[in-house]
Subunit: 132 residues, 8 copies
């Protein structure tokens, strides 16, 4: 388990900060924490996501090797994310699908793409102990 | 605050998985969770880091726009990280330094680079409420 | 998530402190913490509610723009509140009803009115992450 | 103590939603959660604050009987709030001051006013058990 | 809610300390913490129970006005206690029964008696918020 | 450690319920939860205290064998209780004193008496692990 | 309950450290924390397991008197362990079986053996309070 | 971090169960949970220790490769253990000493021996993150 007070910190490029706010806050339900000329910071599922204004964004969204997201311990939280994606018509890159099926580390997964082609993956392991 | 059961998930490229294990486990003190032919997974400060075997790694370590790490709520935890870096002679990219000095969001920061030039940043805000 | 030790603080007018105690403690099940000549303080679902003796109370209870209450993370806690309202025949201003139906932020809501026409709203979001 | 999953819910009027975002997010460090034509919602120190667009705002900021805020259990958290107020030059209505001095319920307090003259009070009791 | 680190402290008379150990540890499943010539201390459901050697014990077990026990938040924990009482044939003074039936504070209750006629009550409220 | 959701339950006699409210709420800082003709219930430091109207009260307050109270894990919480006792001039039966001095179970203690001669003891062990 | 920050520490012999890593990490899903010439340390279900390189290992795996493991509070966590054992074909020494059947301390149990014949037992009590 | 509800489980031999109770409860301050003809179970710092009656005990206490104990996250908890050892004159096998001095995994350690020559080690790492 992790503690409640530290925050994981993730920084990714964004070609347009308004787009980033639109996607992360009004799409994914993250919360806008701070905004500067060159970056915007979010409370992303309890962790800190920073979108840095940059032209260095991928031409298309590619699953590997770079992505980030959340591994939910509870199946219902993954279900809620799926409903949010559907309600808000977020751009799905892959899934929902079952991975490592029939093994101890079996988990559900869905991958989204933000407007700058950063990939966000949400997962739910049958056995949360194996989510690492 | 975030909850204790979910895990933040971060995936980055690694040109060599043994090197990744050496750096993250025996260097940074992350814990090796699983290893496959094409990836290795770590318990990285309570969250899930996955290094995917890939040639798509940066030629040099560059701070922006992509990096990840931990924002420590307690000053002592940042100090402990600094001591670890020193004891184990980890490769420092920048800092330790004070950022946003004299503002409410003032924080200490240090950036490291892993063997595949992924950048890892550790931070400690004077006011942990502003770490988002 | 919020932490367990701080308390949210809400102050509202009450035209009669005995009435306020009757409503909040023996009605809503809040707990009486302190009482002074000009105010009474309650442990209101874990937060601090203060009723200040004042003639400046609304002539009738109006839902918007001022109200306060609790957003329950668990559906059962909202159900329990509904049963309490029914058992103790508390004055219902609106609901129970479903709001933002068919969206990610769908939630159940009920609004009560205290004897000084302060409005208290209780809610339960399908996705507690969106309760902010 | 309160639990970590429920949220206290506070709704107040705002004559201008942009002003509200400016004050609460870029001033007080609350986080923007959602925005609609007629309201904006914030993660305010872990609880839900909603500003409803309304002309029904006070002509001037008056301390009693209506206000809301946070009672910090830790003295350092109150100190951090004071530093934030100073760094960001937020509009102070009263204090910082010591109230109920020399009694068991002695506490420090500071009151701010938002652009719509809603009053926000922050407190720190010497004995957090008496913060109710 | 209460915190996890403090302990509630209850002291009662016992005419025989061996009997007390037999009842509380091998009967109720409390844990023996310390023993002196004139007292024995238990970890009683997470709180501290002390049995003081004394002749001042009631001639018979009487429910009111003095007793102590546990109010379980979860129905299953009350069920488990009932099974323990049955399996270990503990001496039941009253119940299990439903009290305040049809009100918001409805709860299940069972009362046991220890060898020195101290009364122990276990309860489970439909609405744990009303267990105070 | 104990969990946060269950409550320890203590029932004692009170010859006068108003006196009990005066002492426990306005004296000790407990919170009034419910009141009936024959009893009053308190949130007493997070646990449930019930005062049952009864003539069966001790003629004088005697420390042993019956009392109840709180064992604080943190020294500051015990200090705060001492200050409350002083500020509010509560009736002290014994102490503050050091007990089991020079042993592993050394602790500070103070005993108060309520208007019905029930004895309340507050303690603070040097080693909170030994508070059982 | 135990606290979240301390770790239980268990040290056992291993005739081969690679084998130990293979079994504990890639079998049981423990996490590799550190490795030295003469020992390897694991995060074993949140506690610290150290395998010391040693020839002093049992010739065969024997259940009593020496073993270690985890007592799961939740039935689902025990079920997950059973599935892991099956999926990964871990060496089962005994069980799964029901012990102390028909008593308050009834629990499910399964015992595994590591490559150095250390015995690991996993349990799940019907009443987690009795897991001590 | 580990969770609060599961328990680590450790089983060791004891040549005499009364001796084991004397050492673990009245010496180390563990709590006696249950006792059978052939075993006694303890709440050992929040985890479950079982002493099985057995003649298979070491002739002398030897530090490696088998021992168990606690790694304290807080320095004060280690200090408290040292004071307990001194006050109660427990049998010290080695230390207190500093191990891995001048490295990131530096920690204090002390080893005790129980009456059956089982070795118990207590530790405190400068950086609790490295206690695994």
């Amino acid at each position: 388990m992790r503690n409640t007070h530290d925050a994981c910190h993730i920084a990714v490029p964004a070609k347009d900060l308004d787009e980033a706010v639109e996607f992360y806050v009004f799409g994914l339900g993250a919360k806008l924490a701070r905004r500067y000329d060159d970056r915007v910071t979010f409370d992303f599922f309890g962790d800190q996501l920073v979108c840095h204004l940059s032209d260095d964004v991928p031409e298309e969204a590619v699953m590997y090797p770079r992505h980030f997201g959340v591994s939910f311990a509870a199946a219902e939280d993954f279900d809620r994310l799926l409903r949010l994606v559907e309600h808000r018509k977020l751009r799905v890159l892959a899934g929902p699908a079952l991975r490592f099926e029939g093994t101890a580390e079996q988990h559900r997964t869905i991958a989204l793409a933000d407007p700058s082609n950063n990939v966000i993956e949400f997962k739910n392991y049958d056995d949360p102990r194996l989510q690492f």
